[in-house]
């Protein structure tokens, strides 16, 4: 009757392995189904020229990081100096401002007309870039958050790694810290450049 002792041991070890793996997973990090697919299309106003709309086709040809952020996002503030450093290192970062006014819990966006909302958004973004510096090669503004839904955005900051052909290769959730860049992201960025 040796199996009588072996079976509970095997079950126990199985549970240990299951828990060891399971508890290491971060339930907040939802894998994106968009990896390996072309970056979804959108038409959004450009921060530098509000009257001009841009599509992702404008950035094709060279790889880039699409960085989703907002001025009300605390982690984005933490991330900003790192984006400045990356810009200096030659990383092409495209900014995607997400629900600058409507996403701000401290504001009641209902009280604003669309014009006033846009005006306030541009004001706040401008002040942010003036204070912390502008790490973006280009910057688009998604006031409603509709385009962000197509990218599966569920929080800020999120950063998409998009190759020269416009295909999403990776998605990083949370701020890019120097450690994360060094340990995980730098190699992915270099791989994107080699592919182009």
């Amino acid at each position: 009757m040796r199996w009588k002792y072996v079976v509970p041991l095997v079950v126990f070890l199985g549970l240990v392995v299951l828990f060891a793996v399971g508890f290491r997973l971060n339930p907040r990090e939802i894998p994106s189904p968009l990896i390996g697919k072309p970056a979804p299309h959108f038409t959004l106003p450009r921060f530098a020229e509000p009257a001009v709309t841009v599509t992702p086709a404008a950035w094709a040809g060279k790889p880039y990081l699409l960085n989703v952020w907002a001025t009300w996002c605390v982690s984005c503030r933490q991330e900003h100096p790192m984006l400045m450093r990356l810009k200096q290192e030659g990383v092409r970062i495209i900014g995607f401002n997400y629900k600058e006014i409507r996403g701000d819990a401290g504001l009641d966006a209902r009280k604003l007309s669309p014009e006033a909302e846009a005006q306030l958004a541009w004001q706040r973004i401008g002040a942010w870039l003036k204070t912390g510096g502008d790490p973006y090669a280009d910057l688009v503004v998604d006031l409603t958050g509709r385009a962000a839904i197509d990218y599966g955005v569920y929080g800020t900051p999120e950063t998409f790694f998009i190759d020269a052909k416009g295909v999403i290769r990776y998605k990083h959730i949370g701020p890019i810290t120097p450690e994360v860049w060094q340990d995980q992201l730098r190699a992915k960025w270099l791989a994107l450049q080699e592919g182009s």
């Binding site: 339930p27 907040r28 939802i30 894998p31 994106s32 189904p33 968009l34 629900k99 409507r102 996403g103 819990a105 009641d108 209902r110 958050g145 509709r146 839904i149 197509d150 990218y151 599966g152 569920y154 929080g155």
Partner: protein, 195 residues
């Protein structure tokens, strides 16, 4: 009316006499709960009203909410987008409404969200090779447990000898006991003492 006032006065007299303390505490507690409930509904109302945009067509709105209850809010993770007050949940709920209004089917809307947020948005995961363990696992474990219980009970039954055939002598003794014969009593006592 007069009786009502009288009984109220009686209650007040009892309270003043200090014979009513427990009930009074309970009363205050109930009042506090009622107040906090009202305060909460006041606090929550504007937030919900701010972002949800229910459809005018009640049937369409009902379908939208039913669908929303099947979709997980990716921000709060254990609430559906119909229940959640998260910004994104409202955006997604409004997206569901827009698509329903545009004549899209439930399946098309589910596919739309799965394409963007992955199967994580589904409260009910699809049945396929990857989710096989998830679907049949609990039933398999329950079956295994029942089988273990059954075989264990059977083994114990065999070991304790219940249901085993008695030899002739034992049977005769048992019959005698059942018939109420006294000699068996002494016999058992002797057996006990000797053992």
């Amino acid at each position: 009316m007069r009786r009502c006032v009288q009984s109220l006065l009686a209650v007040l007299r009892r309270y003043a006499a200090g014979r009513f303390r427990v009930d009074a505490t309970l009363g205050w507690l109930l009042i506090a709960i009622a107040f906090s409930a009202v305060a909460q509904s006041w606090a929550a109302a504007p937030a919900a009203e701010q972002r949800a945009q229910p459809l005018h067509d009640p049937e369409l709105e009902r379908r939208a909410l039913a669908l929303g209850h099947r979709l997980r809010c990716v921000v709060c993770q254990n609430q559906s987008i119909a229940e959640s007050n998260a910004e994104l949940a409202h955006d997604l709920m409004n997206q569901v409404r827009t698509m329903l209004q545009a004549g899209k089917s439930e399946q098309e809307i589910v596919d739309f969200l799965v394409a963007r947020y992955g199967e994580f948005v589904l409260f009910e995961p699809p049945f396929d090779a990857r989710t096989l363990l998830l679907w049949v696992g609990p039933f398999a474990l329950a079956a295994l447990g029942l089988f273990g219980l059954w075989s264990g009970l059977r083994r114990r039954q065999q070991q304790s000898g219940v249901g085993a055939t008695l030899d002739e002598a034992a049977k005769a003794q048992a019959d005698a006991l059942l018939a109420g014969d006294s000699p068996s009593k002494t016999e058992t006592r002797v057996a006990k003492e000797s053992s």
